[in-house]
Amino acid sequence: MKHLLSAADLNRDEALLILDTAEKLRELADRPIKKLPTLRGRTVVNLFFEDSTRTRISFEAAAKRLSADVINFSAKGSSVEKGESLKDTALTLEAMGADAVVVRHGASGAPHRLATSGWIRSSVVNAGDGTHEHPTQALLDAFTMRRHLGSLEGRRVAIVGDVLHSRVARSNVLLLATLGAEVTLVAPPTLLPVGVEEWSCGTSYDLDAVLPKTDVVMMLRVQRERMTEAYFPSAREYSRRYGLDSVRMAALPEHALVMHPGPMNRGMEISADVADSNRSVIVEQVTNGVAVRMAVLYLLLAGAAGSSPGVASAEDAVPEQRRWERA
């Protein structure tokens, strides 16, 4: 595993290795010194062509806790505004000796282009590309679910809202299917992508019918900035039919979790009292995000170049470890 571009790149063992590694790194958050020397001397570039609060901060915290040097690059205030292309930006990063590039871009496929074009030798981590994928978000969502529910095998997850514009939904469907969960996408027909019947999940237009049979409900933000036409009559009507309020939350099973990848539109897809309720793990998702991104950076960067982490399971790794010690 050299890059992390899509949740579909991960097989079950690799996904579980990332989650198990994150579990160990999560313990670090409770220690007085939240730092490990593992990536000392490595450089991680956060290359953000689109606005982001939590993802960029999360990757920055993750890299710094592993002692990597972090360079933050946002398109605003950079030469991109002067018309520099993705390629020239990439060549600049290569010349600076970046070991990993964490990239967010408005165009779907930009991280893939960066990884496969030969412009740079570093690892590429997709931190959200257009309406395509956001694999580390899916990993942290799965991590959060697993902490509360145990194994995801057979768990029922409802992903509700603007699926059409959501890279989070796509990555989650792919990863959760790999981990054995049953996903149902709930949205008005206009906000489901064309070809969704090919995805490894069910769909529904009726939130109230789905909620009682759900272990996790994940609310998506209505991404107005990506909407070029009218997908629903009014915000009020959308909120009535697809918003999660306390009445709907009461229909959920006792143990069910409420999640949201953020940023939230309180009062639109989720009401304020639900977002702040004890069912909601939205703040915890952010904490877990740092551990998951540390795990990804560790597995991509710490080992020898050309090695393939993720193939060995945790049990296999122990004899391996002993073998190296003799050398």
Binding site: D20, T38, Q321, E325
Partner: protein, 202 residues
């Protein structure tokens, strides 16, 4: 996994047992008493096993200490993977649990426990890891087998058995819960590198 099991058998076939179950048990009992004697009791002693087999050994030593004197500062585990000096040269490894007992290690006597002491690099990594967790009053080292060939100025305080070895030999510690039997084995290194992956050998 079946391939790994096959190679385990190969190793066992040309291996010589240096310690058997009762030898291991006696060595751990002696180490437990030495730890108590050196530290004038167990009240301030925190045993930290280094994964994987060190954790089980630490647990057994703690059991023996508690059988003699009820007071023990605590027992836990310390994963040193993230502090190793050879991470860049090897494929990425899976992490193990770090479990620091309640009360931490500040001002305590930490006894690190590992199965085999060889180059000393694992212990160096453990000492660095301790820096980030707290400031113990002293750090001591207990190992089941010291096989020599140190690459760093590190020595053990409590040794189950000093085992003179050649570098091309391998020492394998097997414990019931991970390997299904109790033994310390010594073997000529097999020529086929594929079989090297077996067991807790080094």
């Amino acid at each position: 996994m079946s391939a790994a099991h096959d190679s385990q058998h190969l190793t066992a076939a040309n291996a010589r047992a240096v310690l058997d179950e009762s030898d291991i048990s006696r060595a751990l009992t002696r180490i437990a008493h030495e730890i108590l004697e050196r530290n004038k009791g167990g009240r301030d002693v925190v045993l930290l096993g280094i994964p994987s087999r060190g954790v089980e050994l630490a647990r057994r030593i703690a059991e023996r200490i508690r059988a003699v004197e009820p007071e023990l500062g605590g027992v836990g585990s310390l994963d040193v993977t993230m502090y190793r000096d050879d991470l860049r040269f090897r494929p990425t490894r899976a992490l193990a649990h770090t479990d620091i007992p309640e009360g931490g290690i500040d001002g305590k006597v930490v006894v690190l426990v590992d199965d085999v002491l060889y180059s000393g690099r694992t212990i160096r990594a453990a000492l660095t890891a301790l820096d980030d967790i707290g400031r113990p009053r002293a750090v001591q080292l207990a190992v089941l087998v010291d096989r020599g060939h140190r690459e760093l100025p590190i020595r053990a305080d409590f040794v189950g058995k000093n085992l003179p070895t050649a570098t091309e030999e391998r020492v394998t510690v097997q414990l019931a819960d991970t390997d299904g039997r109790e033994a310390v084995l010594i073997a000529r290194q097999p020529a086929d590198p594929a079989t090297e992956a077996a067991g807790g050998a080094r």
